[in-house]
Symmetry: C2
Subunit: 200 residues, 2 copies
């Protein structure tokens, strides 16, 4: 990678649902900057949404986020489970979006057990049909943190999925795994990475 | 739309986890064909995976599915909740992937309550920190079936999200909503749709 401009990283994750999502974005951008990268955070605050119908608010946020992704060189996703066995669906959409644009995607999760283990625990607690599980459904078991479309997109980008356990209650906002992703990118910039990121 | 070749539809959804995923794909392809469309189903069976390490199996399935999406003109996603409040994360990835390629995405869900209602019910049942929820997290509330990145991508394609309730236990495989999506596509082909699908 020879580009002179700082890399712009789209910061995908469920932090937008934290009590103070703006502050969460500032923290991620500040950490990215310490590594010389520009963070692009899906910051709804920059839009004027007051008084608009809900559908129009949603439309503007979606359009702004898609625009922001097109401006980004790379994506780092927070894959931590969100209201169920899997990651936030909006974040999964964004990983796929950037992957289709041919841009590298990286990711981390703050919950260590793999997908199959989490799915087994979820099932054992005995949920209703509204939860989208039942005993005869197969559980994907590739020792991976998430659905293979997500983890393989990250690996095909030349990156590796960061998995670690954090203090209980900090699963959504802990930035340790995010920082390890930044370090993966930094090794790319310095040319010391074991595997070059594809298409960067 | 003036193309002569039948439209190729990528069939995204958690049906790949049904006890007989091949048969589920056949049913969707057969129904698509009744409307004159070719269904492309993420059929792992066509790959030779026996004896390969899990990571390599996953890699080949992912690569095959990405190739299949690139061959598709349009995507129809099953957005029904899967092991939690939200849809299958692999399907969400695929909606984003096709959206970034500029191809229309359609979707249906077999669970009627909207995202905010489902999230409230999930929270009320009192889950552990492993489930990725806690009382101070905001719940997205746009009266929509899913995260706005998903539903707005469908609406921006010129389609509308199909939502209906089906018989309990058939949430994953019921094809009523899928057929309504096929009918949306058919109206496009006949030129009788209220809103033309974008970029088709």
């Amino acid at each position: 990678m020879t580009q002179k401009q700082p890399l712009r990283i789209y910061l995908a994750g469920p932090e937008v649902f934290l009590p103070d999502p703006i502050e969460a974005g500032r923290r991620k951008c500040a950490l990215a900057l310490r590594y010389g990268f520009i963070g692009l955070y899906p910051l709804d605050a920059a839009l004027t949404l007051d008084g608009l119908p809900k559908a129009e608010q949603a439309r503007r946020i979606s359009a702004a986020n898609e625009d922001l992704m097109r401006q980004a060189d790379v994506l780092i996703a927070n894959l931590t489970p969100f209201r169920g066995v899997s990651m936030d669906s909006g974040t999964a959409f964004e990983v796929g979006f950037m992957r289709a644009l041919g841009r590298p995607v990286l990711g981390y999760t703050n919950v260590m057990p793999d997908y199959a283990t989490r799915a087994a625990a979820f099932r054992q607690r005995g949920f209703s049909t509204d939860d989208g599980d039942r005993p005869d459904l197969q559980v994907e078991d590739f020792d991976a943190a998430e659905n293979l479309m997500i983890t393989c997109a990250i690996e095909a980008s030349g990156a590796s999925v960061v998995r670690q356990t954090v203090a209980p209650g900090l699963e959504i906002e802990h930035l340790g795994g995010f920082e390890l992703c930044l370090q993966q990118l930094q090794r790319q910039m310095l040319g010391t990475a074991a595997t070059p990121l594809h298409r960067l």
